[in-house]
Amino acid sequence: MRINSKFIKASCAAIALTMASGAQAKLNIFACEPEYAALAKELAPDAKIYSATTAMQDPHQVQARPSLIAKMRQADLAVCAGADLEVGWLPMLQMKSANANVRSTEKGLFFAAEHVQTLDKLDSVDRSMGDVHAQGNPHLHFDPERLLLVAKALSSKLVQLDPDSKAEYDAALADFSTRWQAATTQWLALAAPLNGKKVIAYHTSFRYLFNWLGIEQVGDLEPKPGLPPSTSHLADLQSRAKQGDVMAIIVASYQDERGANWLGERTQLPVQVLPMSVGGNDDSQDLFSLYQSVITLLLNLNK
C-alpha cells in the first residue's frame, strides 16, 4: 500500500512537471513558407517549427496534402505570407485540419502582408490579367525593412499566444532587430553597384528585392502572371534584350529554367537562379545567409 501511494505521488509529480514544462511555451508553429519558418526560428528559438513548403516549391501551387493537414491540426500558430498567396490551399487545410486555433488572425493565424504596405496593389482584377493578386505582391520577404515590421508584428503575436514567455520573445526580437539592422546597412553598401541595373526575370518573385536595391525588371518571362513563357513572348523579350542594357535573366529556385535558358542562349545573357527562400541553395541556411547569398550572386553577374 505504502509503495503504491508513493508511486502514485511520484507519478503525479512527474505528470505535473511535464505539464508545467509543456505549458511553458513550446509553441507549435506551422509556417506556410520557409522564410517564415526561419523568421519564427529567430523570434521563438524554442518553438517547434514546421515549414509546409520548401524553396523548391511554388507556393502558389501547393497540394493540401494529408501531411500538411496533420501538421496544421497540431499547430498553435500558422504564419503565412498572405495577400492570397496561399489561397489555393490554406483554406482547405484550415477546413480539413479542424483546428480552431489557427482559423482567424485574432487567434493563431498570422499573415505577414497584413502588417506592411504591399507593392502593386490593384484596384480591379480580372482573370484575363493572369493569376494576379488584388492585395498586392505577396513575396515581401526580400525587403529588409518590411521584414523587420513583420518580425515586430509576429513577436507581438507570439506574446499574445504565450504571454508567460514575453521576456524571452522581447529579448529575441531585440537581438534580431539589432543584427538585422546592422546587416541591412552592410547589404545596402555591398549592393550599391547594382543600383540602376536592368534584369529580365520570371514572375514578380523578386519584386521587393529589386525595389530595395534599385534594380529594374524590364521584362517578365511570364506573358501574364501564372502563365508559362510562350515562344512568341520569349521572342519579344529577345528583341527587348537587343537594346543591350540588360544585366541578366533571373529565375527563382522553384521556377523552370527552360525559357530563361532559351532566351539566354539567343541573347548571350547570363541566366542566374536565385534562392527564393531559405534552403533555396546551399549557402542559404537562414534569413541572413539568404540575403547574403542573393546579393553575392547578383554582384558576381555584374563583374
Binding site: M56, R65, R73
Partner: protein
C-alpha cells in the same frame, strides 16, 4: 412546381451575391468566394450509366458560393445546371454548413453534401482528369453520391494524417429499384463510416489510403411479382438521368489509395497522380420471405456473386500546359430478371489528353474503349469525347 420556384430563387440569390461582390471589389479570404464552372462537350456515342448524352451537350455547369458565415460556421451552396435532351434541370448538389470551432479535431457538416466515402467521391467532377467517373462510381454511387444528412469527422493529433468519420443520410438516391412504388423505404437510408491515413515520402511523394463502409438500409432489391411483366419491360427502357445508383446492396465496402509525385514537391511544372479504388457490394438479393419465385423455381442452388468494381488511374501532367491520363476500370454487377440474376460486366480502357492554357481552363480529348456483356446491349464500342471545363471566379482549393 414548388421545386422549380425554389431553384429559381436559389439562382436569383446567387446572382444577388455576385453583384454585391462585384461592387465591393475586395475579394478577400473572408468574403464569399464565387465560382462558376462551364463544361461543354461533344461525344460520338453514349456510355452505360453515364450522364453525358450523344452529340453536343453541356455537362456539369455549376455555380458555387462559399464563405465563413461567422467564426463558428462555414457554408457552401453549389447549384448545378444540367441539360438532358430538351429539359434543363437546376439542382442543388451542395448546401451545407460546417463547424469551424469545435475542439479536439472534431467537425460536423450538415445539409446536403458529398459523402466522404472513397477517394473520388468528395471531389467535384470538374476536377477529374476524365470526362466521366469510373464505371464503378456510375454503377454503385450514381456517379457521385451527395445527399441530405450529417457528418461527424475527427482528425487525430498525429504527424501521420489520420482522419475518421461517420455520416448518416436520407439515402433516396441509393434506394433499390422499386418498380411498383409500393415499397416501404426507411427514411434514414444510408450510414457510412470511413477512415483515411496519409503522409509524405521524402520531399517528392505523398500518399493516402482510405477504407470506407456504406450501409444502405434500402439497398436490397424487391422480388419481382410474376404477373406484372409488362411493367418491367416498360420501366427497363426508360432513360434514367437521375443521380440514383443503378446497382445497390445493403453493404458496400470501398478501399482506395492515391499516390502523388512531383519533383521536389513542386507541382507547378510536372506531377504524377496514381490512384485506384475497389468496391464490393453485398446483400442485394431480395430477402427470402418475399421471394416465392426466386428460390423455389431454381431449387435454391443459385446465389449470385457479390457485385464488384475497381479502377486504376494514372495522370501525368508533363508541362504546365499538357497532361495525359490512362485509366482502366471494370464493374461486375448482377441484374435481377424475374426470378434469377444475370451477371453483367463492363470493362473500360480510357486515354485522355488535356491542354491547360492556365490553371482555370482545360480542353480535353478522351478515347474510351468499352467492352461489355449485357450492359444496355453494349458489346464493343469506342467512345470519343471532346470536352472543355473552365472555371471562372474564385480559386477553387481542391482536395488532395
Amino acid at each position: 412546381m414548388q421545386t422549380f420556384n425554389f431553384r429559381v430563387s436559389a439562382v436569383a440569390m446567387a446572382c444577388a451575391f455576385v453583384s454585391t461582390v462585384t461592387l465591393a471589389q475586395d475579394a478577400t479570404l473572408t468574403n464569399p468566394a464565387i465560382s462558376g464552372v462551364l463544361d461543354g462537350y461533344y461525344q460520338n456515342t453514349e456510355r452505360p450509366m453515364a450522364e453525358r448524352e450523344e452529340g453536343f451537350g453541356l455537362g456539369h455547369t455549376e455555380l458555387a458560393l462559399s464563405a465563413n458565415i461567422d467564426d463558428m460556421f462555414y457554408g457552401k451552396l453549389t447549384a448545378v445546371v444540367e441539360t438532358h435532351g430538351s429539359d434543363t434541370e437546376v439542382g442543388l448538389e451542395e448546401a451545407f454548413i460546417q463547424t469551424l470551432a469545435m475542439p479536439a479535431g472534431f467537425s460536423i457538416r450538415a445539409g446536403r453534401f458529398l459523402s466522404d466515402v472513397g477517394y473520388l467521391n468528395n471531389q467535384h467532377v470538374h476536377t477529374d482528369a476524365f470526362s466521366d467517373r469510373p464505371a464503378a462510381y456510375r454503377a454503385f454511387l450514381g456517379s457521385h453520391y451527395f445527399d441530405d444528412g450529417v457528418r461527424l469527422d475527427y482528425v487525430a493529433p498525429t504527424d501521420l494524417y489520420w482522419a475518421m468519420g461517420v455520416e448518416a443520410f436520407k439515402g433516396d438516391s441509393m434506394r433499390a429499384e422499386d418498380e411498383h412504388g409500393e415499397r416501404d423505404f426507411k427514411d434514414l437510408g444510408v450510414y457510412t463510416a470511413y477512415s483515411k491515413l496519409g503522409g509524405d515520402i521524402g520531399n517528392s511523394s505523398s500518399w493516402m489510403l482510405g477504407l470506407s463502409y456504406l450501409r444502405n438500409e434500402n439497398g436490397r432489391l424487391t422480388a419481382h411479382e410474376e404477373h406484372e411483366d409488362e411493367v418491367v419491360a416498360e420501366d427497363g427502357h426508360e432513360h434514367d438521368h437521375s443521380h440514383a445508383a443503378m446497382y445497390t446492396g445493403e453493404n458496400t465496402y470501398i478501399a482506395d489509395f492515391v499516390y502523388k509525385w512531383a519533383p521536389n514537391g513542386n507541382y507547378k511544372y510536372q506531377h504524377l497522380t496514381l490512384s485506384g479504388e475497389y468496391f464490393m457490394v453485398t446483400d442485394f438479393a431480395p430477402l427470402e420471405e418475399h421471394d416465392h419465385g426466386l428460390d423455389e423455381a431454381h431449387g435454391g442452388e443459385h446465389t449470385p456473386d457479390d457485385q464488384t468494381g475497381w479502377y486504376v488511374s494514372s495522370v501525368y501532367q508533363f508541362t504546365p500546359n499538357w497532361s495525359a491520363g490512362l485509366r482502366y476500370g471494370q464493374v461486375d454487377t448482377q441484374e435481377l430478371h424475374d426470378d434469377h440474376f444475370h451477371g453483367q460486366k463492363l470493362k473500360e480502357t480510357e486515354v485522355s489528353l488535356a491542354w491547360h492554357h492556365s490553371h482555370f481552363s482545360t480542353v480535353r480529348l478522351q478515347y474510351t474503349n468499352q467492352q461489355g456483356t449485357n450492359f444496355d446491349g453494349i458489346e464493343d464500342d469506342n467512345v470519343i469525347t471532346l470536352q472543355y471545363v473552365m472555371t471562372l471566379g474564385a480559386h477553387g482549393a481542391h482536395q488532395f
